[in-house]
C-alpha cells in the first residue's frame, strides 16, 4: 500500500479533534435563520475592513498554496495530465522565487491533489514521499445520482486504492425535500465507508437555492461526521462565493461550540484570483480565527488560482508585474 504513513495531519495538530459526529439535532436545524442582505453586507464590508500588503500578502498567498487542493476533474483527464498536476503540486513555486523570499526551508507544497478515482494510483506513485494527500471525488460526482450501493462501493474502492481524502457529493434532493434524516443517514454511511480517510462533503451550494439550505445542510453533514464541508463540485454555475464562505464558516463555528469538534472548510470553484482568495481567507480568519487557516482545516479547491498567486508573489519579489508564461503550468 503506498499510503504515506506520515500522513495524518490531524494528529499533528493537538488542538484539533477529529469529528466523530453527533446525533442529528433537528431542533437546531429548524432554528437556522439566515438573512441574505445582512450576510451580503458583512461580506462586502469585511474585505474592506482588513487588508494584507507586501510581505504579509506574500505570506498569506504562500499559505493559500499550502492549503490548495490542486484539481483536475475533466472527462478528458489522462495519466499524463495527472502527472503534470502532481509535479506542479510538488513544486508550486519557481525555485528562484523561493530563494528571493528566503523560504526554501518552509517546504512549500500544495495541500492535496484532487482527481477522479481512475487516477488515484497514478497520483500516489508520483507523490510518494512528498506528504501530499491524494483526494478522490466520489459518490457519483458531480451529480450524485448513482445508486447508493455503488456510491458506497465507490468510496471503499477509492480508499482501498489509497486515497487519503474522499470528496463526496450530497444528494441535493434530500435538502429540497427537507429530509434531513435521510441526508444524515447518507453521510453517516459514507463516513463509515471512508474509514480513516478524511471525508469532505460537497454541498453544491450553487444549486441549493437559499443560504438557509446551505447552513442547514452544513450542520447536518457535520453532525453526520464530515471532516470538511465543501461548497461546490466546480461544475455548478455558481461556486464558492463569499456569502457561502460566511454562512458555512458560521455553521462550523456553531458546531464547534456545540461539540468541540473542529470541522474544516473547503471553498471550491470560482476562486481564480489571488485577491479573491485573500478575501475568503480574511473572512475565515474573522469568523473562525487563524487556527482555521492551515491545511488541516482549510482547503481551496482550485485549478487556475495557483497561476495568479505565482504572478503576485513574483511581483512582490521583484517589484515588477509578472506574466503567466513566466511560471510553469500545472
Amino acid at each position: 500500500m503506498p499510503l504515506d504513513k506520515n500522513y495524518n495531519r490531524r494528529e499533528m495538530d493537538p488542538v484539533i479533534v477529529k469529528n466523530s459526529g453527533s446525533p442529528l439535532k433537528l431542533e437546531l436545524i429548524n432554528e437556522v435563520r439566515i438573512n441574505k442582505s445582512a450576510v451580503e453586507k458583512r461580506c462586502a464590508s469585511v474585505i474592506n475592513r482588513r487588508t494584507v500588503k507586501k510581505h504579509n500578502q506574500a505570506a498569506w498567498l504562500l499559505k493559500a498554496i499550502t492549503c490548495m487542493d490542486l484539481t483536475t476533474l475533466s472527462g478528458d483527464d489522462t495519466e499524463s495530465r495527472v502527472l503534470r498536476l502532481c509535479n506542479k503540486a510538488k513544486n508550486p513555486l519557481r525555485n528562484d522565487l523561493l530563494e528571493d523570499l528566503g523560504i526554501e526551508d518552509l517546504n512549500i507544497k500544495v495541500g492535496g491533489v484532487c482527481v477522479y478515482h481512475q487516477f488515484i494510483r497514478t497520483a500516489l506513485d508520483n507523490l510518494q514521499g512528498f506528504n501530499i494527500p491524494v483526494v478522490a471525488v466520489s459518490t457519483g460526482f458531480p451529480a450524485g445520482l448513482t445508486p447508493k450501493k455503488t456510491k458506497i462501493l465507490e468510496i471503499k474502492e477509492s480508499v482501498r486504492s489509497g486515497a487519503q481524502e474522499i470528496d463526496i457529493v450530497i444528494s441535493r434532493r434530500h435538502v429540497f425535500s427537507g429530509n434531513w434524516n435521510k441526508l444524515y443517514d447518507e453521510i453517516s454511511e459514507y463516513k463509515e465507508a471512508s474509514g480513516n480517510a478524511l471525508l469532505k462533503t460537497i454541498l453544491a451550494t450553487g444549486e441549493l437555492g437559499t443560504l438557509k439550505n446551505v447552513a442547514k445542510a452544513s450542520l447536518v453533514c457535520m453532525m453526520a461526521g464530515a471532516d470538511f464541508i465543501k461548497t461546490s463540485t466546480g461544475k455548478e454555475t455558481i461556486n464558492a462565493t463569499l456569502p457561502f464562505t460566511l454562512v458555512m464558516s458560521r455553521a462550523i463555528r456553531e458546531y464547534f461550540e456545540l461539540t468541540g469538534f473542529a470541522v474544516g472548510y473547503k471553498p471550491a470553484g470560482g476562486i481564480s484570483s489571488a485577491k479573491d482568495c485573500l478575501s475568503h481567507m480574511i473572512l475565515i480568519k474573522e469568523e473562525l480565527g487563524s487556527k482555521w487557516l492551515n491545511p488541516s482545516l482549510f482547503r481551496l479547491g482550485a485549478s487556475s488560482l495557483l497561476s495568479d498567486i505565482e504572478r503576485q508573489i513574483e511581483h512582490f519579489a521583484t517589484g515588477q508585474y509578472s506574466s503567466f508564461n513566466r511560471h510553469g503550468i500545472a
Binding site: 442582505s37 487588508t51 518552509l106
Partner: protein, 789 residues
C-alpha cells in the same frame, strides 16, 4: 525576507497605512494655516487655534476662530450671493451641484484622509461610507435643483441659512446641510465643529475650483461662540443645527419668536432589538455597525440593546467573542475597526458615564486597547444587566458603549424601546416579517432599520421624533426644510381689523340660559376653576358664558389625549367615515350655526363660512385615506417605506377670525392624520367650537380624540406649551404668544408652527394650503426593509 517567513507563521494583519501625502501637500499649500471662506475668497488666517490629530495628539494645522465680524461679513456675502444664485435658475444651479458631486468623487481619497486624520475615524469608514454618501447627496440634490420649479411650485427659497455641524461626520453633515439648501436656491454660512474644520475648508476650495458663484457657500470656522454669533444674527432666515440636545435646546430658546426657520438633528439613545427568530450572527454583526461605527460617536448609534430573554445569554456570548475581534490603531490603517475618540473631552465624558453605570450596578465587559496606542482611545464596552431606571440606559453616551437589557414579549420590547426622551432611530432584528412590520410603526422614532442598521441615503429622509429634534434631512421632506410656502396662497391681502364692519340683523338668541362646558376625554366637563367668561355678540351683549380654563383643565385634557389612543389606531377609512359623518351632522344644524355666526363680527359672511366649513370637513375626510407615504428607491436592495405618521398629541390655538371655519379647518387637518388634540378655541368667540361637542358626541368620534378647553389664551398657553406629553403645537392665535410658546416648548422640543390666524383667508385660501396643513400634522418615519431570498 525574514519578514515573509515570520508572517507565514502568524498569518495575521499588520499595519497598512493609507498614504497622506496628497492631504499634507494641500495643508502645506496653505502654510498650515487657514482663514475663513467668505464671498468666494479665503480670508487671512487670524485668531488661530490648533486642530489636533486625536491618534497622536499632534497639531495638524491652525484654524481661524471666527468672530462676530467674520460672521457679519459672511452673512453680507451670502446676501449678495443670494440674488445672483436665485436669478440663474434651476438648470444652472443643478450644474453646479453636479460639479460639486463630481469633485468630491475625484478628490475622494484626499478628503477621506483629511477626515480620518482630524476625526479619528477609520479610513475604511471615511473612504467607504462618509465620502461616497456625501457625493451621493450632491448628485441627488442636483436633481432637486433641476426639478425645483415643477415639484415645489408653491414654495420659494428661504434666504440666507446659518448651518452648524458636528465633528462626528464632518463632510457628510456638511453635505446634508449644504446640498438641499443651495439646491432650493438659498445661500449658506456653514460653521464646522472646531475639532474638524479641514474637510469643510477643502470643500470651500472645491466651491472655488468649480467657480460656484461667490457668496453662495461661505465657511466660517471656530468654536461654539462663533456658532452662537451665527444663529443670533438678525439677517439670517434659517438655522439648521446638528449636535447635542443641550445646545439644540439653547438655540431653540434663543430663536424663540424670531420667526427664523429651524431644523434640529439632535441626540439619540436608539434601541437595537433582537428577537429570538433573528439571524443572530448577522444581528451581532449589525450591532458592530450600530455601536462601534465611528467609535459609537453617532447620533443614531444603537446604544440600547434589547434582547429577547430566551436568547439573551447566547447573544451576549456572541457579542463578547465578536468584541475580541475588533482591531484598534491608527485611523489611516486599512485594517482597523476603531480609532480614537475625537478628543480628550469626549474620552473623559464617556469614561465618566461608564463609571457611573458600573457604580449603579451594571456588569461591565471591555476590550483591551493595545498599550502602545496613546491617542484618545476608549475601549468597546458592553454593560450588561442594565435597567431602564439607570442613567446609562437613558442618557446619550456618544461613545463605544452598549447597554443591554432583556424583554419577554413584543409589547414589552416596544415599551422599553419607547421609554426614552429621544426618538431618532431603531433597529429590529427578526426573520418574521409579521413581527418586524408590526413593531416598526409602534416605535416613536424617525428611522427604523429592519435587519440592518446605520444605512443612509440621500433619497431617504433622516431625522427624529421627540427630543431628537425635528425636521428631516434627505428625501423630498428634507427639501421642504429649505423652502417656505408662498404666503400669498393663504394670507389676506390686507389684514383687516376685526370690528363690526358688517351690518347684520340681530338674531334672537334662545331665552334659556346657556352654559357651555369644556369637552375633555369625550365628555362635557365643567372647568376646574369655577370661573366663567362672558361671551359677547357684535352688539356687545353677553349671549353666553364659557368656562375659564386653567392649568388643571389643560392637564386633564392632555392626560385624556395621551391615554386614549383609539382615534390614532383607527384605520384611515374609519377616520374618514367619522369625519364625513361629522359634516353630515353639522349640516343638519345649518340654521343654528349661521345664526350664531351672525352674532359675531369675527365672521364676515355666515352662510359662506358655514358652507366652507362643511366643505373643509369633506376635504380633510377625503384626505384621511389619501395622504399616503411613498416607497423610496435607495441604491441598495431594499424597500424603504416613508410612512406619514401623526405628530401625536397636538395643541391647537385658534384665532378669532372665522371662528367656525378656522376651528374646523385646523382640527380636521390634524384629526385626519390621526392626531389627538387639545384645542383652545377663539378667546373672543369660542361658541362655534364648543357647540361642536354635541355634534362630536353624536358622530362616533372616539373619546379624547378632540378635547376643547376654553378660556383666556394667556392663562392656558403656558401649561400647554410646557407640558412634556404634548408633541406639537399649532399657534394660530395672537402672534404675541409665539415667542412664549417657543420658549416654553423647549423642554421636550415640541414641533411648533406659528401663523397669525387672523391674517389667514379662511374662506378662500389656495387649495395648496391644505397640503401644507397635512404636512404639518404629520411626520415622516422611514422604515428600511432590505430583502433577499
Amino acid at each position: 525576507m525574514v519578514k515573509v517567513k515570520n508572517a507565514f507563521k502568524k498569518i495575521d494583519y499588520e499595519e497598512a497605512l493609507e498614504s497622506k501625502i496628497e492631504s499634507l501637500e494641500w495643508i502645506a499649500e496653505h502654510n498650515g494655516q487657514f482663514g475663513h471662506f467668505i464671498g468666494g475668497r479665503f480670508t487671512q488666517p487670524k485668531n488661530l487655534f490648533k486642530t489636533i490629530n486625536p491618534f497622536n495628539k499632534k497639531e495638524i494645522a491652525k484654524i481661524s476662530q471666527g468672530t462676530v465680524t467674520e460672521i457679519k461679513k459672511s452673512i453680507q456675502a451670502a446676501r449678495l450671493g443670494l440674488e445672483n444664485w436665485q436669478s440663474i435658475g434651476p438648470f444652472q444651479r443643478a450644474k453646479y451641484l453636479y460639479a460639486i458631486a463630481r469633485y468630491i468623487q475625484k478628490e475622494s481619497r484626499t478628503i477621506s484622509v483629511l477626515e480620518s486624520m482630524e476625526n479619528g475615524k477609520s479610513i475604511r469608514e471615511s473612504r467607504d461610507i462618509d465620502i461616497p454618501l456625501a457625493a451621493r447627496h450632491f448628485y441627488y440634490h442636483a436633481g432637486w435643483a433641476q426639478l425645483l420649479d415643477e415639484e415645489f411650485q408653491d414654495y420659494s427659497a428661504i434666504g440666507v441659512c446659518g448651518q452648524i455641524i458636528p465633528w462626528n461626520f464632518p463632510i457628510l453633515m456638511l453635505a446634508w446641510k449644504v446640498a438641499p439648501a443651495i439646491a432650493a436656491g438659498n445661500s449658506v454660512i456653514i460653521k464646522p465643529a472646531e475639532q474638524t474644520s479641514l474637510t469643510a475648508l477643502y470643500f470651500a476650495e472645491i466651491c472655488k475650483r468649480i467657480k460656484l458663484p461667490e457668496g453662495v457657500v461661505n465657511v466660517v470656522t471656530g468654536d461654539g461662540i462663533t456658532g452662537s454669533h451665527l444663529v443670533s444674527q438678525k439677517d439670517i432666515s434659517k438655522v439648521a443645527f446638528t449636535g447635542s440636545t443641550e445646545v439644540g435646546k439653547e438655540i431653540k430658546k434663543n430663536l424663540a419668536g424670531s420667526g427664523k426657520a429651524l431644523t434640529l438633528e439632535l441626540g439619540g439613545k436608539s434601541p437595537f432589538i433582537i428577537f429570538d427568530d433573528a439571524d443572530l450572527d448577522s444581528a451581532v454583526e449589525g450591532l458592530v455597525d450600530a455601536i462601534w461605527l465611528n467609535q459609537g460617536q453617532v447620533c443614531c448609534a444603537g446604544s440600547r440593546l434589547l434582547l429577547q430573554e430566551t436568547i439573551s445569554k447566547k447573544v451576549e456570548k456572541k457579542i463578547l467573542s465578536r468584541m475580541k475581534k475588533l482591531r484598534f490603531g491608527n485611523p489611516l490603517d486599512k485594517s482597523i475597526d476603531m480609532g480614537p475618540l475625537v478628543s480628550f473631552e469626549q474620552q473623559s465624558r464617556v469614561k465618566g458615564l461608564v463609571d457611573k453605570g458600573v457604580e449603579s450596578g451594571a456588569d461591565i465587559f471591555q476590550c483591551d486597547i493595545p498599550s502602545n496606542l496613546k491617542g484618545y482611545f476608549y475601549p468597546p464596552t458592553l454593560l450588561k444587566n442594565v435597567s431602564p431606571s439607570m442613567e446609562i440606559f437613558q442618557k446619550e453616551i456618544f461613545g463605544p458603549v452598549l447597554s443591554s437589557t432583556t424583554f419577554r414579549t413584543p409589547e414589552e420590547a416596544i415599551y422599553l424601546a419607547n421609554n426614552s426622551r429621544y426618538g431618532l432611530s431603531a433597529s429590529i432584528w427578526s426573520e418574521n416579517i409579521n413581527l418586524a412590520l408590526d413593531i416598526a410603526p409602534k416605535l416613536k422614532v424617525g428611522v427604523v432599520w429592519i435587519n440592518s442598521t446605520n444605512i443612509f441615503d440621500a433619497a431617504v429622509g433622516f431625522g427624529g421624533y421627540r427630543e431628537s429634534g425635528y425636521g428631516r434631512e434627505g428625501g423630498k421632506e428634507g427639501m421642504y426644510e429649505y423652502l417656505k410656502f408662498n404666503s400669498d396662497h393663504y394670507k389676506i391681502k390686507e389684514a383687516r381689523v376685526l370690528k363690526e364692519n358688517i351690518s347684520v340683523k340681530k338674531q334672537t338668541i334662545p331665552y334659556i340660559d346657556q352654559t357651555r362646558k369644556m369637552f375633555i376625554g369625550g365628555s362635557q366637563k365643567r372647568g376646574d376653576s369655577g370661573h366663567s367668561i362672558g361671551i359677547f355678540d357684535n352688539q356687545r351683549e353677553e349671549i353666553a358664558t364659557v368656562g375659564r380654563g386653567n392649568q388643571k383643565d389643560i392637564r386633564n385634557a392632555v392626560e385624556a389625549a395621551n391615554k386614549q389612543m383609539n382615534w390614532t389606531i383607527l384605520s384611515s377609512h374609519a377616520r374618514a367615515q367619522i369625519m364625513f359623518y361629522i359634516a353630515e351632522n353639522l349640516s343638519q344644524r345649518r340654521d343654528y350655526f349661521i345664526s350664531l355666526l351672525s352674532s359675531t363680527s369675527s365672521c364676515q359672511n355666515p352662510s359662506q363660512e358655514f358652507d366652507t366649513t362643511l366643505e373643509r370637513l369633506f376635504t380633510f375626510a377625503s384626505w384621511a385615506d389619501k395622504f399616503d407615504g411613498v416607497v423610496h428607491q435607495a441604491p441598495i436592495r431594499a424597500n424603504t417605506i416613508a410612512l406619514n405618521e401623526p405628530v401625536g398629541v397636538m395643541g391647537i390655538v385658534c384665532p378669532d377670525l372665522a371662528p367656525l371655519a378656522s376651528f374646523i379647518t385646523l382640527i380636521a387637518a390634524a384629526l385626519c392624520q390621526g392626531n389627538r388634540l387639545i384645542v383652545i378655541p377663539s378667546e373672543n368667540f369660542p361658541l362655534p367650537a364648543v357647540d361642536m361637542y354635541q355634534i362630536f358626541d353624536t358622530s362616533d368620534i372616539p373619546a379624547a380624540a378632540i378635547n376643547i378647553v376654553t378660556g383666556k389664551h394667556d392663562e392656558l398657553i403656558d401649561t400647554l406649551s410646557e407640558h412634556n406629553s404634548v408633541d406639537g403645537i399649532w399657534n394660530f392665535g395672537d402672534p404675541k404668544y409665539e415667542a412664549k410658546i417657543d420658549r416654553a416648548s423647549v423642554s421636550n422640543l415640541k414641533q411648533i408652527w406659528s401663523v397669525n390666524g387672523n391674517s389667514v383667508n379662511w374662506i378662500n385660501y389656495h387649495a395648496s394650503f391644505n397640503k401644507l396643513l397635512l404636512q404639518k400634522s404629520s411626520q415622516v418615519k422611514n422604515i428600511w426593509i432590505p430583502y433577499g431570498a
